[in-house]
Amino acid sequence: MSLSREQAVTAIYEAIDELNPQLDGISLERSEDTILFGEGAALDSLNLVNLVMMVEQNIMMETGTEVLLASEAAMSRKRSPYRSVKALADYAAEVAA
């Protein structure tokens, strides 16, 4: 049970596909450059939380790996792991390792 970075990106894209129809007037792009959180982000905090939770669950379903993306360690990082799709994928692969 491990998680490759590619699997993490797939899990995030699937969450984006699921979240998009629920978003009001905006749509997130399936790209590693998509900004999720902070300046220039399209998501409000509740939708960000929902996205991160979907990613956790997708990873668990696809790879059997239980990753905790909303942890103390994640919150206290200087550079938020929620900043972008790329940052989130890096973080997921890192904590699953």
């Binding site: 629920q22 509740l46 929902n50 979907m54 668990m60 379903m61 239980e66």
Partner: protein, 234 residues
Amino acid sequence: MSDQKPVMAITGTRKGIGRFLAEHFLNQGYIVEGCSRGEADLEHDDYRHHCLDVADEKSVISMMHAIYRSHKRLDVLINNAGIASMNHIMLTPKSQIERIFETNVYGTFLFAREAAKLMGRRKYGRIVNTATVATPLKLEGEAAYAASKAAVVSLTEIMAREVAGLGITVNAVGPTPVPTDLVGSVPQAKMDALIARQAIPRYGEMADVLNVIEFFIRKESDFVTGQTIYMGGV
């Protein structure tokens, strides 16, 4: 909701009120995922028991993942597991208040948090926590217990606001004494005095607890959140 059976998680289903609730909702056609530290002898096709301590974060997360894997949904969470202890505050060891807070507060928190993650995905959920009349009645000898349940009320009120946007309601039921093992150790005179302070001075029954829970979890109760309903007119 689809025509698939609704899924409910209940904590503390080995005995007492939790066991009663599990049996009731299984009869109502729910899939019930229960837990307690000990094994439960409840046998039903739609029941699964998880042996865990509600204060153990890893176990709670694993149980919720198992629910997601099996059913892809969670409609209702009843945070019922709880412990009490009758003790003068000057005679209460730190370990006792720790144990009470771990089970009643951290357990409730962890289950509510993990449940909301599953519920949020379908934008629907009902969370019911368990308070007690010992809090508003300021029951002497129950300081640690009443304080832990005061914390549960506070969690209920604030979480209700935080997850409202996800279609999840969070409420609490505050039972009067109900004859179970939990109140078994309280002296009779103390119990009588307590019951005399209720607007309706009788023991509560499990069906009274159930009635409040059923109101909270109805689909029509989507405009009811952040509330604690105390039984017996307390």
